[in-house]
């Protein structure tokens, strides 16, 4: 096993979003599975961060951090349901 769980996304995503997205519920565009961002399978030993669906292993999120910007690709995510305080 060379992935860690989606809690590893907390720091990177907090830099971009004002809320902690690991508690959000995402829906995979590959298989429709709904689960928390924290439950994703995260591959970090790569040119960017890749999070995959724990059910079908499709890519649901890609995050590339450049020198002065970041690219967040969410095409594998149908939606994010984000709890608000």
């Amino acid at each position: 096993m060379n992935h860690v769980d989606g809690n590893a996304l907390a720091g990177d995503l907090r830099e971009i979003f004002a809320v902690d997205l690991t508690a959000a519920t995402g829906q995979c565009s590959g298989c429709g599975y709904k689960g928390s961002v924290a439950s994703l399978r995260v591959y970090q030993n790569a040119p960017g961060v890749v999070a995959r669906c724990p059910h079908c292993e499709e890519v649901v999120l890609r995050l590339v951090r450049g020198r002065d910007r970041a690219w967040l690709d969410l095409r594998g995510t149908v939606s994010l349901e984000i709890p608000l305080p």
Binding site: P47, V50, E58, V59, G66, W71
Partner: protein
Amino acid sequence: MPIVSPGFTGRRQSPDVQLPPGQYLAEDFPVLTAGPTPRVTTDRWQFTVNTEAGQRYDWSWQQLIELPAEKITTDIHCVTKWSKLGTRWKGVSLDVLLEDVETAADYALVQSYGGYTTNLPLEDLIDGQAWIAYRYDGEELTPEHGGPARLLVPHLYFWKSAKWVRGIQLLLEDEPGFWESAGYHDYGDPWREQRYQGD
């Protein structure tokens, strides 16, 4: 008693070694992966070239290894900043595989088992610049490093050298691959430090 200290030299690098800008020398061979490692056995391995006109060319593993192979010794440069010098590979030149392929395409989208893709101009795959490599350092290429076979395009950042390669789609128009559509540079020349879009 004198104390002999070699001193702190940091990352050892001989002064005559020239690396692309921003790179450091790696002694090991780091394994980077964007997903689970595909386990593709050679009996079900297949390499396919699809042209823009819909023509398809296939090679089985046996057909691949019966083609004339070359031994390649080359430096490789990863966009995550490590470089490794003098890596030794064996593989089939894309010149051999594309020899009888009729195409008017200018671009290629390389596809891997496991879903990875990367794009590059077709002219960067020909004229002795790219290989389907199946041996590394005298051994079979391990799955962690892309085995049974990977693309080897050492003049570009190593994310272009797709592991677990299964085919090439030839295209009239450029189509970004896995990392190229998520912020990485479309071409990726390490000597011009083309890491990210806009570099």
